[in-house]
């Protein structure tokens, strides 16, 4: 089992804002800091624009973990997008947990444009934790129910 876990490369989708975290991730690169390659970054104008449906769609499309990250409180380029987002995440998280969706697979961070080193850290940490949890098969099963049912009948 542990060998399997070591072999498992989690697929992580990161939803980040343009102004802070995306710039921070850029800085990670230009600072030549090495970090886990499991993350695919999707850039948004603001954390306020990160619709909760995007997170569900990422899981449905095969993500094992998700990162949501933007500007620290009071640093939002649009003043309050991250405050609105924070409220939404609080509520959304409660609902997902009640439905039995694995909220440990969604990691939220504030990463500023100056925090290139933090970005590398949070990605590494997320990858390690998701690797420990294993692939999100529960969700994939429901998302790919046609393939799953056909495979079961073969």
């Amino acid at each position: 089992m542990d060998e399997n876990k070591a072999a498992f490369e989690p697929r992580i989708i990161a939803f980040v804002c343009n102004w802070c975290t995306y710039a921070g991730a850029d800085l990670t690169g230009t600072s030549r800091i090495k970090y886990a390659t499991n993350v695919e970054i999707v850039r948004f104008p603001c954390t306020g624009r990160i619709d909760f449906m995007l997170l569900l769609k990422a899981f449905a499309a095969g993500a094992d973990g998700i990162i949501v990250s933007g500007c620290h409180p009071n640093d939002c380029h649009y003043t309050s997008g991250n405050f609105h987002a924070r409220r939404r995440w609080i509520v959304f998280r409660g609902l997902l947990d009640f439905l039995g969706i694995d909220v440990r697979r969604i990691h939220y961070y504030w990463v500023s444009a100056a925090e290139g080193a933090k970005w590398a850290e949070v990605v590494n940490q997320t990858v390690a934790e998701i690797r420990e949890l294993g692939p999100y098969t529960e969700y994939k099963k429901v998302a790919n129910y046609i393939e799953e049912t056909e495979a079961a009948h073969e």
Partner: protein
């Protein structure tokens, strides 16, 4: 004829109101159904008692059902009043357009012409919390996460995507809903488990902090799926996180506080 029926008949006759929405006897003695009274004669058929469970507030945003001119009376239950107030707070219905009326135990008619009178009446007539709903939520909370996922999967796999839950809810008033959008088509239109779950997540998230807990969604579901537990749970969460007070204009998720507390963002 009850005294209050007479009062309403008079209002229709003298033009105080152009239409009155209320309840009449239904097709079985256990049931009532919505009634649109356009004249004084029809007002005789109005009834009001514990069998009146439809949420009539759902009609208040349906312009095609309402006369263009004149005031519209509504013989309302407390649930209808709560929904109507929420609609006013969301600027969906103008304050003077509807004359909401409550019928007291002795058949006394109370007119509630504006948001403030509604607020006072609702505060004076609190609805008891349904202990069954609270118990069911506790039961689900006590399950392991895997059990909860299995429970909701099993439950929502039965949804037939009829959208009766949406149609019955007075606060689900968008004329274009995400489920009918096909670019992108985020929620697949056929009834299968994941799209069904996604549909409920969307419905409930869009209700966050707005749901008045009337239970019309659950009552309308032909499969009796306990979807009201989702909205109720979210209401509990919101009360715990942001307090039981709701903003007088707008709603919980259209505002924020710089002091909102969370412990999961690092």
């Amino acid at each position: 004829m009850n005294n209050w029926n007479k009062q309403i008949a008079d209002m229709l006759a003298d033009g105080t109101v152009a239409l009155v929405i209320g309840y009449e006897e239904g097709s079985t003695p256990q049931k009532t159904r919505p009634l649109f009274c356009h004249d004084a004669v029809a007002a005789e058929r109005l009834v009001m008692d514990g069998r009146c469970t439809h949420n009539l507030a759902v009609y208040l945003t349906k312009k095609e059902l309402l006369p263009a001119e004149g005031r519209i009376g509504v013989v309302a239950t407390v649930n209808v009043l709560k929904s109507a107030l929420q609609l006013m707070q969301e600027n969906q219905i103008p304050e003077g357009r509807f004359l909401l009326m409550a019928v007291g135990p002795e058949g006394k008619l109370t007119e509630l012409p504006d948001a403030e009178s509604l607020r006072q009446y609702i505060a004076a007539h609190p609805l008891p919390d349904n202990p069954e709903v609270a118990a069911l939520i506790e039961k689900i909370d006590a399950m392991s996460r895997e059990e909860r996922w299995a429970y909701w999967q099993e439950c929502l796999s039965k949804c037939v995507k009829c959208y009766a839950c949406r149609a019955a809810c007075p606060l689900c008033y968008c004329t274009r809903c995400i489920v009918e959008d096909n670019r992108p088509q985020w929620i697949l239109p056929w009834a299968s488990t994941l799209p069904n779950i996604e549909w409920q997540i969307n419905r409930v998230m869009h209700m966050a902090g707005r749901c008045t807990g009337c239970g019309a969604c659950y009552a309308a579901c032909p499969l009796h799926l306990p979807i009201h537990l989702l909205t109720k749970k979210l209401t509990q969460e919101i009360n715990r996180e942001f307090g039981t007070e709701r903003p007088a204009k707008g709603n919980v998720l259209s505002t924020f506080s710089p002091d909102d507390k969370e412990n999961f963002i690092h």
